[in-house]
């Protein structure tokens, strides 16, 4: 197996899928220049018809992606930075998510959106959003958040091949992370969580950048005799209840670590599912480690403590064992 960075893994997925299937094309702001890294070299390789810079018209080009998908193409629409999905929100909700159902199955919507989340970098409130919770409320969208190079590649490939709309949230904090990526046509199925570390005392269900922190926290508390199981959710919709529930059945304790703001977070959803379906397994309250319900400030001193960290996850685990 080779070692790739998260960004290189995304790039490989794009190259391979574009080579495999002529109907795949990429569009977005400055994709030919690969401003966000993952589209590097695509324009040179596949030409500017299939790798297409767009005007700054998010609603327009997301909707155009939907239209192209409806006539048989497989667009990959790069959103540049995740919060710009808000500009295209109605197209995502009313067209991308709803067309298959609204037209009684006449429309297929094989579109993939790439949405890098650049929080924790002094970009302030408008640029630091992690907008998957808002989109989770919209039936008809599949949402993923791969947290390793292997998943980044394998899940993006699965997304592009899927006949439904998939939004792939990249945690910018992971872009530089290196990891082993299986050779060959590495595809990771959507909707399946991954137990990244086994344990018996506390389940930490983690998402996106919080997965790394959860693994660090698990190491930290292992020395104290607390055995943490880390479940990387990977897929937000569909959400793999089975894996979460079996882990909680084993440990009886749950921490959910999610970089989103707490209200309406994936952490809240996972907590609700477990409180509903695995209540009798629980030996302690559920604990959410999230970003508080405030804006993201510019000041680095103010911003840093807001997000889930290994420390916050570790102390949540400790508290459940107390």
């Amino acid at each position: 197996m080779r070692t790739l960075t998260y960004l290189e893994a995304l790039n490989e997925a794009l190259v391979e899928e574009m080579e495999r299937d002529e109907s795949v094309f990429v569009m977005g702001e400055d994709v030919t220049w690969a401003l966000m890294g993952s589209t590097a070299g695509l324009a040179e390789k596949f030409g500017e018809e299939r790798v297409r810079d767009t005007p700054i018209s998010e609603a327009g080009f997301v909707g155009a992606g939907a239209g192209a998908a409806m006539v048989g193409m497989r667009p990959v629409v790069h959103m540049l930075i995740a919060p710009f999905v808000y500009v295209a929100f109605d197209q995502l909700v009313s067209i991308v998510a709803k067309s298959t159902y609204l037209y009684g199955g006449q429309a297929k919507m094989p579109i993939t959106l790439m949405a890098p989340m650049l929080y924790g970098r002094g970009n302030a409130a408008q640029h630091s959003d992690r907008p998957y919770p808002a989109l989770m409320t919209i039936p008809g969208l599949k949402l993923i958040a791969p947290a390793s190079p292997a998943d980044a590649k394998g899940m993006l490939k699965a997304a592009i091949r899927d006949d439904d709309p998939v939004i792939s949230f990249e945690d910018g904090g992971l872009w530089g992370q290196r990891g082993e990526v299986p050779d060959g046509d590495h595809v990771v199925p959507l909707g399946v969580a991954d137990v990244k570390r086994e344990g018996s005392d506390v389940t930490v269900v983690a998402l996106a950048g919080a997965v790394t922190h959860a693994l660090t926290a698990a190491e930290e508390v292992a020395d104290e005799g607390i055995s943490v199981e880390v479940v990387d959710l990977r897929s937000i919709v569909p959400l793999d209840r089975g894996t979460v529930l079996s882990s909680v059945a084993k440990t009886g304790r749950l921490v959910v670590a999610d970089p989103a703001h707490e209200m309406g977070s994936v952490a809240s959803e996972v907590a609700a599912i477990v409180a509903e379906e695995a209540f009798w397994d629980l030996q302690a309250p559920i604990s959410r480690v999230t970003t508080p319900h405030t804006q993201i400030p510019y000041s680095a001193d103010l911003e840093r403590p807001l997000y889930p960290s290994a420390d916050r996850i570790a102390s949540a685990a400790r508290q459940l064992m107390a």
Binding site: S23, F25, E49, R50, R52, T54, P55, S57, A59, G60, F61, V62, G63, A64, G65, A66, G67, A68, A69, M70, V71, G72, M73, P75, D90, Q91, S94, I95, S99, T100, Y101, L102, Y103, G104, G105, Q106, A107, K108, M109, P110, P139, G140, K142, D162, D163, D164, P189, L190, G191, V192, S235, P238, L239, D240, R241, G242
Partner: protein, 325 residues
């Protein structure tokens, strides 16, 4: 552009289909057999049919909340449309779309969408898709005067222009967006004046004259098909009914204005006159009307006798490829 006799008759037939479909469904709605937000196309038949008949069967069309007329214009059968309005399993949308979304993909009707302005980007995308596929298909997009004030109008026409897409944008300017007059919501007289900002041709035609519409849209379609890019065509038309059936507020339109359009500018009457001048006489058109009447009666029978969707249907088509999780 000369139109063959056969095509003239087909135009009339489609206009008659729309007119009769709307009369019947409106009646059913008022009697309570149908429901939902119900926007009829009565009065706008020439604009719809003149536009659609300028397309090939394999061309695409995108539409609006005022969805009944468009698929009929594009050639859809009436039975699936009526069954859809009744929420039946045999409806074109399997009972899931209803009045604002009658869409028959088998005739290239890609989707009527009820969020005002939301179809314009989709049309650009369908045109982009055809272009990337190396097909010479054209996508026609209907939208209203009201929709021309949405940001999506701007973004979509711009995208279509810079990418030289085979798209034709047809603004059905019926003078109102819901109850608000078009002249209160824009500072230009014609939506077509906005085309210049995208470097594309923009024309305004009499939307009650099906042949004028057909000619203008036909030119735009030819341009698009030749690879010369998109156009904007504005058809000046009028809806004979209120914005939606059941709205009780009527005072936003001058009764004399309504009267004038209904009596002087009825597109079917005007077309019958034009056809008469071309030697197709009224008796022949009456026969077409009768045939459509029979077709509609059959469609109604079909719709009424069709089954309701099974309860599980609420959960299918959420995804094409559902994943158990």
């Amino acid at each position: 552009m000369t139109v063959s006799g056969g095509d003239l008759r087909e135009m009339y037939r489609r206009m008659s289909r729309i007119r009769q479909f709307e009369a019947t469904t409106k009646e059913l709605l008022l009697k309570g057999e149908l429901y939902g937000a119900f926007h009829t196309s009565t009065g706008q038949e020439a604009s719809i049919v003149g536009s659609c008949m300028a397309l090939r069967d394999d061309d695409y069309m995108v539409g609006t909340h005022r969805s009944h007329g468009h698929p009929i214009g594009k050639g859809a059968a009436l039975d699936g449309l009526l069954a859809e309005l009744m929420g039946k399993e045999t409806g074109v949308n399997q009972g899931k779309g209803g009045s604002m979304h009658l869409s028959d993909f088998s005739v290239g009707s890609l989707g009527e969408t009820s969020i005002v302005g939301s179809g314009l980007p989709v049309a650009a995308g369908a045109a982009l898709g055809s272009k990337l596929q190396g097909l010479d298909r054209v996508t026609l997009c209907f939208f209203g005067d009201g929709a021309s004030n949405q940001g999506t109008f701007h973004e979509s026409l711009n995208l279509a222009a810079i990418w030289t897409l085979p798209a034709v944008y047809v603004c059905e300017n019926n003078g109102y967006g819901e109850l608000t007059a078009a002249h209160k919501t824009m500072a230009v007289e014609h939506v077509s004046e906005r085309a210049a900002g995208y470097g594309m041709p923009g024309v305004t035609v009499d939307g009650q004259d099906v042949l004028a519409v057909h000619e203008a849209v036909g030119e735009a379609v030819g341009r698009a098909r030749r690879g010369d890019g998109p156009s904007l065509v504005e058809t000046m038309t009028y809806r004979f009914d209120n914005h939606a059936i059941g709205i009780r507020i009527e005072n936003y339109r001058d009764p004399a204005e309504i009267e004038h359009w209904r009596t002087q500018r009825d597109p079917l009457v005007l077309f019958r006159d034009a056809l008469g001048e071309r030697g197709i006489d009224g008796d022949e058109l009456d026969v077409i009307d009768k045939e459509v009447e029979a077709e509609l009666a059959e469609a109604l029978e079909f719709a009424r006798s069709s089954p309701a969707p099974p309860p599980e249907a609420a959960f299918t088509h959420l995804f094409t490829n559902p994943i158990d999780a």
